[in-house]
């Protein structure tokens, strides 16, 4: 089973929930936590871990071969992303604009643009005692997160049996990276906070999940601060609220130190148990 932990708004507690939930659930079942927030991966900061395996993540980029090129300019015409420019006696490739569609390479009459790997980041496999943790990390300067996210998911699918629960810590927002991290999941938890910003971004996230036809439920973090807008919205739309994590500065303090919360905070643990038994129900 694949479960994505997502949120429209950033900083609502996705990573806190992902890391604590993994730690808590791993006492009872086999699971792998995957940090798909490859632009700003943070889950690892909260885990005691040892590197098990590390691999370079590449994207495929065309490489110009001056010797065979006849400078016809077809490649530049074919590229719809302005990633190729033909100047007088040269073809320039702009890797950060390339979407790796292969059109220029495969439509070249003289095979002068073979696709070559270029590093965009790393995928690291860690052992965390009772569970495994996979982190995708985009290199600073790389702009496209989606190819790395999909490679992380592939790595997990190749490395773990189907019986392992997969927990994806998703990037924030509602655009392509989140979609990549949710589109094949069995269930999506949308983490929000009870404020107008939280509500506005939750609405966007809900619409996105509807477009993707995913099953989803809501977790309210920092419950008690703010207003009732999120709850009223969920009631009206018939969206299940799975847990309400209390607002408490003590939780924020533990978080600030990179510590897991549930072992030290009773209220947090109670809500985590609700999430855990909910997962048990949908998995049955």
């Amino acid at each position: 089973m694949r479960i994505t932990i997502a949120s429209g708004k950033g900083g609502t507690g996705k990573t806190t929930i992902s890391t604590n939930l993994s730690h808590y659930l791993s006492r009872k079942r086999q699971l792998v936590l995957v940090d798909l927030d490859v632009e700003e991966p943070n889950s690892g900061l909260f885990l005691d871990k040892e590197i098990f395996y590390e691999q370079v993540a590449n994207k495929m980029i065309p490489e110009w071969q001056s010797k065979s090129c006849i400078l016809c300019g077809e490649c530049a015409k074919v590229c719809n992303f302005n990633a190729i420019l033909k100047i007088e006696k040269e073809v320039l490739v702009f890797p950060e604009l390339c979407h790796s569609c292969y059109a220029c390479s495969e439509l070249c009459f003289t095979n002068s643009l073979p696709m070559k790997p270029k590093q965009m980041g790393e995928i690291t496999h860690y052992k965390c005692g009772t569970f495994d943790f996979i982190e995708g990390r985009l290199r600073v300067g790389e702009e496209q997160a989606v190819p790395l996210i999909s490679q992380c998911i592939e790595y997990v699918d190749e490395s773990f049996e189907k019986s392992f629960l997969r927990l994806y810590d998703a990037p924030p927002g509602t655009s392509c990276p989140v979609i990549e991290a949710s589109k094949k999941s069995d269930f999506v938890f949308l983490v929000t906070e009870p404020t107008p910003f939280g509500l506005n971004d939750l609405r966007l996230a809900v619409e996105t999940m509807k477009v993707l036809k995913r099953d989803f439920g809501v977790i309210i973090n920092r419950y008690g601060i703010g207003d009732r807008g999120v709850e009223e919205y969920c009631e009206k739309e018939g969206i299940g609220i799975i847990a309400k994590i209390p607002n408490d500065k003590a939780i924020a303090k533990l978080y600030s130190n990179g510590e897991l919360v549930y072992e030290k905070h009773e209220g947090f643990r109670r809500e985590l148990e609700k999430i855990s038994s909910f997962i048990g129900e949908i998995d049955a």
């Binding site: 439509l107 702009e143 978080y255 130190n257």
Partner: protein, 290 residues
């Protein structure tokens, strides 16, 4: 005209609340741009009136005209994004996966795949509750956040500032380090990095600052919730010193931050030490940018 871009790398650090406060303080002297088009929130605090709306088109998506299609399947095997599949009867395009590269359309022997322009979102020009002009947008559901809509918001704000002879453009930047944030940063005179005193806050600050550095932009920093973890705060301060980034504000953990938000108010609308600290930061930022 000076352009100030507020970014944070990590979400939930208080970036938008602070940016809205700066906008509130500067009143009609500034043009506001909300570049967090993926989860835009500034319009809530500044009560934007959505006076003018435009459709924003960006990118394309493939469409197979089944009448001429002979089900040869060349398109499916050509597509690197798994966007084309056979549904048992005909070949169909999944618009969410389609990148708009045109490859399928070019290789189709029956020339039956057309490329349609995609509506990527809505673009707005509003008046705010303090009389300023604001450019903002809403990305379409499932649309690609390539940075093009962000660039459109920014360029429009720039144009509006020049036409109306405004002193400042205040930009609420996008999160992360990818395309949208790169688009938010282009052309900035000063970058305000907002972070918080948490290990994640520091981690993400370092990464987003690397992006800022790549573009050779000048930056200042505000530490939010600095008293949550004084140890992390001092690590942040050491980092700022090393990188020669000026610290322009330290804001204490205060639930008023969230409460003001729930009342739909900017923090500086009420009198408090929090409000004083933010006003002070804004003055320092203005000094840095002029």
């Amino acid at each position: 005209m000076r352009e100030i871009v507020v970014v944070s790398g990590k979400g939930g650090t208080g970036k938008t609340s602070l940016t809205a406060s700066f906008a509130y303080l500067e009143k009609e002297n500034a043009v506001i741009a909300d570049c967090d088009v993926d989860a835009a929130n500034m319009h809530l605090l500044l009560e934007a009136d959505f006076a003018k709306q435009e459709d924003f088109f960006s990118g394309e998506e493939a469409f197979i005209d089944e009448q001429n299609c002979i089900n040869c399947g060349i398109c499916e095997s050509t597509c690197r994004f798994d966007a084309i599949s056979f549904d048992g009867d005909k070949y169909v395009v999944d618009p969410i996966s389609c990148e708009g590269c045109w490859y399928c359309s070019r290789v189709c022997p029956r020339e039956t795949i057309k490329m349609n322009t995609k509506k990527a979102g809505d673009f707005y020009i509003s008046k705010t509750k303090v009389g300023s002009i604001m450019a903002h947008a809403k990305l379409g559901f499932g649309a690609e956040n390539s940075g093009k809509l962000v660039a459109h918001v920014k360029n429009s704000a720039k144009k509006l500032a020049l036409e109306n002879e405004k002193n400042f453009i205040i930009v609420d930047g996008s999160p992360g380090i990818g395309c949208p944030v790169v688009s938010s940063l282009s052309g900035a005179h000063l970058v305000v990095l907002v972070t918080e005193a948490t290990t994640s806050g520091l981690h993400d600050l370092k990464r987003v600052h690397q992006v800022v550095k790549t573009f050779g932009l000048r930056a200042v920093c505000i530490i939010n919730k600095y008293d949550l973890n004084e140890e992390v705060t001092s690590s942040i301060e050491t980092f700022l010193e090393e990188e020669k980034i000026k610290l322009v504000g330290k804001i204490a953990y205060d639930e008023m931050f969230t409460k003001a938000l729930s009342e739909g108010k900017c923090i500086v609308q009420s009198d408090s030490s929090l409000s004083y600290e933010i006003k002070n930061s804004w003055e320092l930022i203005k000094k840095e940018v002029i």
